[in-house]
C-alpha cells in the first residue's frame, strides 16, 4: 500500500494550485460582489487552461482530452475546489457522458467541447422531480422520426453559458399499475432550437456567479439523431458515465476545507487575547485538531474511492461515502473556522463567510446527504435480502 503521490501527481497538484492561487483568487472578490463573471474573463481562463494542456483533463486522450486516471483527476479537482465554482468551472471538464456519443455526435458535441469551442450543461432536475428523478414530467412524444418535447427543468448549473444541454426526458412508460416505470431518454439539445428556452434561474446563497437556470420546452421538435445512447436507456447511459462525478463534490470539499483551515490555523497562531495566542487555549486548539483530522479523513476516503475506480473495483458505495462525509465535513470546518475568528469571520473582508455559504449546497446537489446514506445502506443490506 502506497499513500504517496507520484512525481507526476505532485507536479499536477502544484501546477493546478499555482494556477488557482495566481489566476483565480484575484478574481474572487469581484465575482462575489457582482454575482457575475464576465464572459470575456471566463474565455480568458479557458484560453489559459487550453494553453496549459490541462483542458478537459477527464476526457480520454483518444478524444483529445487529458486522459487522467481517477486519482490524478481527483487531485486536480481538489485543487480547483479551493476557489469558487463561478471561477473553477471555466477550467472545463466536459461531462463524461459525452463519451457515449456516436461518431456523428462526437464531431458535433464531444470534440468541440474538448477543444474549448463549445460548452455543455446537464439537465436532470425538475421542480417536481428532485431526488425522485424518475418522477420527471418533462415528456417527449414521438412524431415520425422526431420527438416533440414539453416540460420544464430547473437548477441547471451554468446553462446560461452552455451551447447545448444534455437533457433527460421521459419518452413513455413501461409496465402497468404499480410496476409502471417511465422510460427515460437522454437528448442533446442545442441552444437556439425552436421551442427550447434557457432562462435565468434563482438567486442562490451558495456559489455566487455560478448560475442555475430554468429550461423550458414548448413543442420543441428534436430528431432521433439527437438521442445520446438509445431511446429508453437514458439512466443506463447516466449510470455508466456519471456515477463517478460525485467524487468531484467530495474532492472539491476537501480542497476548500483545507483553504479555510489554513486561514483559521494562521489566525489562531497570531491573534492574541488574554495575553496569549488564542491557539494556546484548548478551546481553540482542540477545534483545530478535530478540523484537520476530519479533513484528512475525507481526503483519504475520497482518494481511495477514486483508487477503486482506477482498479476497476465496485465503488458506488465508497463514492457515496466520500461525497457524504466530505460535504458534511466542509460544513463543520467552515463553521468552526468562523468560530475561531469570532465576529470577523462573518465579515466579507475574509473569504470564510463565503466558504460557509458555499458549503451549504454541497450537501444537497449531486444527490443529497440522505440519498447518499440510502445508497450506502442499500449496498450493505441488499445482499442480506433486506
Amino acid at each position: 500500500m502506497d499513500f504517496g503521490l507520484t512525481e507526476e501527481q505532485e507536479l499536477v497538484v502544484r501546477t493546478v494550485r499555482d494556477f488557482v492561487e495566481r489566476e483565480l483568487y484575484p478574481l474572487e472578490a469581484q465575482v462575489e460582489r457582482t454575482g457575475e463573471l464576465p464572459r470575456e474573463l471566463g474565455r480568458e481562463i479557458q484560453d489559459k487552461v487550453l494553453a496549459l494542456g490541462f483542458y478537459a483533463p477527464n476526457i480520454p486522450a483518444e478524444f483529445g482530452g487529458g486522459g487522467l486516471d481517477a486519482v490524478t483527476f481527483a487531485l486536480l479537482e481538489r485543487e480547483l475546489g479551493r476557489t469558487s465554482m463561478a471561477l473553477n468551472h471555466w477550467w472545463f471538464r466536459p461531462s463524461n457522458i459525452l463519451c457515449a456519443a456516436n461518431a456523428e455526435q462526437r464531431d458535433r458535441y464531444l470534440l468541440p467541447c474538448v477543444r474549448g469551442e463549445r460548452i455543455d450543461a446537464l439537465a436532470m432536475t425538475e421542480p417536481d422531480a428532485g431526488s425522485d428523478v424518475r418522477g420527471m414530467k418533462c415528456f417527449a412524444r414521438r412524431d415520425g422520426d422526431d420527438w416533440i418535447v414539453n416540460g420544464t427543468k430547473h437548477f441547471i448549473s451554468h446553462a446560461d453559458v452552455a451551447d447545448f444541454v444534455i437533457v433527460f426526458i421521459a419518452t413513455g412508460e413501461e409496465g402497468s399499475g404499480k410496476q409502471s416505470r417511465k422510460r427515460i431518454t437522454c437528448f442533446l439539445v442545442d441552444r437556439g432550437t425552436p421551442g427550447f428556452e434557457i432562462r435565468k434561474g434563482y438567486n442562490s446563497v451558495s456559489h455566487k456567479g455560478y448560475h442555475n437556470c430554468i429550461l423550458s420546452f414548448d413543442d420543441c421538435r428534436l430528431p432521433s439523431s439527437q438521442i445520446l445512447g438509445e431511446e429508453g436507456l437514458g439512466f443506463e447511459v447516466a449510470n455508466t458515465w456519471l456515477y463517478a462525478t460525485r467524487i468531484t463534490v467530495a474532492t472539491m470539499c476537501v480542497g476548500r476545507a483545507r483553504r479555510a483551515f489554513d486561514i483559521a490555523l494562521n489566525y489562531a497562531a497570531q491573534r492574541k487575547q488574554f495575553g496569549q495566542q488564542i491557539g494556546k487555549f484548548q478551546g481553540v486548539s482542540f477545534k483545530l485538531a478535530d478540523m484537520i483530522t476530519s479533513i484528512d479523513a475525507a481526503d483519504l476516503l475520497t482518494l481511495s474511492a477514486a483508487w477503486r475506480l482506477d482498479k476497476g473495483l465496485p465503488a458506488n458505495r465508497e463514492i457515496a461515502q466520500a461525497k457524504l462525509f466530505a460535504s458534511e465535513m466542509l460544513a463543520r470546518v467552515t463553521d468552526e473556522a468562523i468560530q475561531i475568528h469570532g465576529g470577523m469571520g462573518l465579515m466579507d473582508d475574509l473569504p470564510l463567510e463565503r466558504f460557509w455559504r458555499d458549503a451549504r449546497v454541497e450537501r444537497i446537489w449531486d444527490g443529497t446527504s440522505e440519498i447518499q446514506r440510502h445508497i450506502i445502506s442499500r449496498d450493505l443490506l441488499r445482499p442480506l435480502g433486506a
Binding site: 512525481e7 507526476e8 505532485e10 507536479l11 499536477v12 502544484r14 496549459l52 494542456g53
Partner: protein, 249 residues
C-alpha cells in the same frame, strides 16, 4: 547551442522558515521544498531560447541529496530535455557547487549556463560569479534582458544605480534577476513527458571534486524581533532625537 541550468532544492518560498532549536541551521524536516524561484526564471529563459531556435538542448543540473531529482523533474516538466544529479549528502557551499558545475561544464561543453542570481535559502549570490571565474568565461549577472546577435549576447543588468548593458562572447555565464521573465506553469503534456526524460546520476568523485565545506557555520539565529517605536511630541523633539540618539543628522 546547449544550455546548462543548475536548479537548487530550497525551502518553498511560502513556508515560514524556522531555526532549528540547536542553532545549526533552519528546519527542513517535513517542510515543503521547491525549486529556487530564481532558478525557475533560469529554466524559463532557457526554454524560451529553445522555442526561439537559439538553444537546441537544455540540461537541468541539481546537486545534493537524492530528493533533488524532484527539482530536476520540475525543470523537465517545464521543458528541459534531460537532467544530471550529482548525489552527495555533504552540505554544499558555493565554492564546491561552482567547482562541481565547472567540472560538468567541462564534460558537457554548453554554450551558455543560466543560473539564479542567488538561492532564497542562504542568499549567498556567489555561485555564478565563482563558476565564471573557474571556467574563465564572461559573466552577465543579475540579468533582466538577454539579446543574442552576431554570435554573442547582450545582457541588461540590474545594478544599484539603474541598468547596465554588457556585451559578452559565448560561452558565458548568466545569472537571472526577478524581472527577466515570468516562469510558466508546467503543462500537462510536459508533466507526462518528463517521466520519460533521462536523469543521469553522478558522484562528486566522478567529477574529481572534493565538496568538503570550507566555511564553518557557527550559529544560526532568528532575526531580532522589532521593538515598538516611540512617539515624539513635535518636530523639535524629532530633530533632537535624530541628532543625539539615531545620530543620522
Amino acid at each position: 547551442m546547449k544550455i546548462l541550468v543548475p536548479v537548487k532544492r530550497v525551502v518553498d518560498y511560502n513556508v515560514k522558515v524556522r531555526v532549528k532549536s540547536d542553532g545549526t541551521g533552519v528546519e527542513t524536516n517535513g517542510v515543503k521544498m521547491s525549486m529556487n524561484p530564481f532558478d525557475e526564471i533560469a529554466v524559463e529563459e532557457a526554454v524560451r531560447l529553445k522555442e526561439k531556435g537559439i538553444a537546441t538542448e537544455i540540461v537541468a543540473v541539481s546537486l545534493g541529496i537524492p530528493a533533488c531529482a524532484e527539482t530536476i523533474r520540475t525543470a523537465l516538466a517545464m521543458g528541459a530535455d534531460r537532467g544530471i544529479l550529482v548525489e552527495t549528502d555533504v552540505e554544499l557551499q558555493p565554492l564546491a557547487v561552482a567547482k562541481l558545475l565547472a567540472a560538468i561544464a567541462a564534460k558537457e561543453q554548453p554554450g551558455l549556463m543560466i543560473l539564479g542570481k542567488q538561492a532564497i535559502d542562504d542568499d549567498m549570490s556567489a555561485t555564478g560569479q565563482m563558476l565564471a571565474a573557474f571556467l574563465g568565461w564572461p559573466q552577465g549577472t543579475f540579468a533582466s534582458q538577454l539579446t543574442f546577435a552576431d554570435g554573442g549576447i547582450t545582457v541588461k543588468r540590474e545594478v544599484d544605480g539603474g541598468m547596465e548593458t554588457v556585451a559578452l562572447s559565448l560561452p558565458a555565464v548568466i545569472t537571472t534577476d526577478l524581472r527577466l521573465n515570468e516562469p510558466r506553469y508546467a503543462s500537462l503534456p510536459n508533466i507526462m513527458k518528463a517521466r520519460k526524460k533521462p536523469i543521469e546520476t553522478l558522484k562528486p568523485a566522478d567529477l574529481g571534486v572534493d565538496p568538503t565545506p570550507r566555511l564553518k557555520v557557527l550559529k544560526v539565529v532568528e532575526p531580532a524581533k522589532r521593538k515598538a517605536g516611540v512617539k515624539v511630541a513635535d518636530v523639535a523633539e524629532l530633530v533632537m532625537k535624530l541628532r543625539t540618539e539615531a545620530k543620522v543628522i
